[in-house]
Homo-oligomer: 401 residues x 2
């Protein structure tokens, strides 16, 4: 058996970001930049007013002074002339400050009277002027490579005059469920069979993590049926299987894929739920074999598949983010397997996050998994902890899954 960390390390070390493609900026939210976004212009392009008011020479802006308004410069319509002594130009937030002017008289500090304006509050040179390039200058990297584009990044890339961005392709992840007993939802269920849930949950997880799921037809429980899957995964960035990888008599994924050249890296991890795990290569395609049990499959997907998707997407390879919380119940001593307790979260009177594990942790209970807010991480051989102890949790709500 190997540890969760060792398994994740081995998986991530064997993966590479997908190649780049061009995406329209309007479709680029959530995509990961493959090259930096470099400003194509300077923002603001010239000194501009931060307020509505008048541009003037600071020396003229003394209390009580009366200036002649020689023009107006709405945003987008710069005043072409120059502001001389005793003169002012009406302007607005974003208006270019005309030549000659070095101060802004705020609208609320001015009294307009016909062609003149009176100064009711002395101006300060440079105040309320945004300098050219205050936000960014042409040539600046405004968005680095390897960043998942936020709505704010999209606005910034637009302002930097980019209608297109170069991003990593969505990782295409083939999802394979195996088993004679599996039916798709709404289809006839064989006697003794169950409705497939893993492939749908995993496809949704792939989508949540920025991948593109390709759900393969369910493979029957024969080596040959599984072997045929090898032909279906050309061009995929990963094959994820569920089930068929435990130690029973009916574990055919490995045998079937080995007929087509699967090279296996490991398959037993010291963790609960989800001990059996497979990682290898089928030709060029990485293969991640998750347990068939739905809760185990999902926990393993959080621990291994989501980091793999990050790596394939061009993001830094990292374990799922954790936060500290307070145990809402005593925790038993752990055995040699890392445990992941399905828990609810609440907030105590001091504003601390409290994680309370469900009393039953059966790995077949999908409803309980769906209602869980977090997984409490229990290290191998962790000692028993009293209620109120600090624990580390993975917040499922924050993962979007």
């Amino acid at each position: 058996m190997i540890s969760v960390e060792e398994a994740r390390h081995r998986i991530l070390a064997d993966l590479h970001p997908t190649p780049a493609e061009i995406a329209a900026l309007a479709n680029a939210w959530g995509r990961v930049t493959a090259v930096p976004v470099i400003a194509r212009l300077t923002q603001p392009p010239a000194d501009v007013s931060a307020m509505d008011g008048y541009a003037l020479r600071a020396a003229d802006g003394t209390l009580g002074a009366v200036l002649r308004v020689i023009g107006s410069a709405p945003a987008g319509h710069p005043f072409e002339g120059s502001v001389g002594p005793g003169e002012a130009v009406r302007l607005f937030t974003g208006s270019v400050v005309p030549q000659g002017a070095d101060a802004i008289l705020l609208q609320e500090d001015a009294t307009a009277a016909g062609p003149e304006v009176q100064v009711n509050e002395a101006v300060i040179a440079g105040r309320h002027i945004r300098r050219a390039g205050q936000d960014f200058a042409a040539g600046d990297v405004v968005v680095p490579a390897g960043r998942r584009l936020t709505a704010r990044d999209i606005g910034l890339a637009a302002a930097a005059n980019h209608p297109w961005v170069t991003v990593h392709r969505h990782p295409r992840i083939a999802v394979l469920a195996t088993g004679d007993e599996i039916a798709m939802p709404g289809e006839p269920i064989p006697r003794g069979g169950i409705v497939s849930s893993n492939s749908h949950a995993l496809a949704a997880l792939v989508r949540a993590a920025g991948g593109e799921p390709v759900v393969l037809p369910v493979a029957a429980d024969t080596r040959d049926a599984v072997a045929e899957v090898a032909d279906a995964v050309h061009g995929m960035d990963m094959l994820v299987t569920t089930g068929g990888a435990s130690v029973g008599d009916h574990d055919l994924v490995i045998e079937g894929l080995k007929m087509r050249g699967l090279r296996l890296d490991f398959w037993q991890i010291a963790m609960r739920p989800g001990k059996p795990l497979l990682f290898g290569r089928l030709g060029a395609v990485p293969v991640l074999g998750l347990p068939g049990n739905p809760v185990s499959a999902m926990v393993c997907a959080i621990l291994f598949l989501m980091p793999a998707l990050s790596r394939l997407s061009g993001l830094p390879a990292a374990p799922p983010p954790t936060v500290q919380a307070i145990a809402g119940a005593p925790l038993r001593a752990n055995d040699h397997r890392a445990d992941h307790l399905r828990s609810t979260l609440s907030t105590d009177s001091q504003g601390r996050i409290v994680a309370t594990p469900f009393t039953v942790q059966d790995s077949a209970m999908l409803r309980r998994l769906a209602y869980a807010d977090a997984l409490i991480l229990r290290a191998p051989n962790a000692l028993a902890l009293p209620e109120g102890s600090e624990v580390t949790v993975i917040r499922l709500d924050l993962l979007g899954i």
Copy 2:
């Protein structure tokens, strides 16, 4: 002026969830349920084994006993007969426990020898058996209405045998930028003009919050041009405008839309950045007018548009989620306007979240907004706070925007 809370309350009170539509389960991740998902079957459908091993009568499972193996029941292939005294049936995780049997002998506690199996560890009646309906029973609500479907919910709905789910429609949000000075990225920029960033950032925010953005052509700075927009918003769930709503001479959104029957609810909010804000109705379509300044527009979108999108999507109407953090710098006393300080986040030696505001909070600095991790909320008239004080923040990273 009205408060942020009052403004949000008024907006949300005037909005209603979109009607329902049918979505394929495979496309339903992130959608919001309009009706509960009710289990169409019982899971597990019968008592099943939680482990690989043998089904037998508990009375027979004493240490050293040797039982006759009368059959095998792979998952999906139930054993049709009954287990009598001295008999056992081979089974696997998920196999239906045959009639007559009430205990499971684990594979690792058994020695198979031809047609017989020896008990190496006494069994306990009922142990390792998952009871019918342990996860859910037919008729149970497995996913309530008004929930944004997670990957786990998708798995649960699949297991409950739902190929389709009934969800609220994506709110369709028209986004309108106004201004003669505005160019689309990559297009010729008029002299004195700037590249549009607001409509792209807002469209991405709408998408991040589960809406469908419709970016309208930029309206020129005339009342008539703005008025024509009224024809473009039929069937939209909301019109969001940016710019043209301040107190200068060139504030044409209100005047233009009033020509077409805009009923205005309010438009000045005691907040910074982003004081001018407009809310009303254009026929049946709610209209939210955001400031033109890109940082103000985004902060107002976080405070008002995202909650509005939640409400339109069928989710509970609520302010943006906040967390407690430690101020990484002294904070000045605040004036009468609620402030939203763009800040970075870090973690101190005690694991606490530290929020440090940028020293310059200019509302035109889009790059700084993009690099911010959080907004520190400063209430109207809040007192000065020393570094290390507790503050409330909105985490931008967790909003997906």
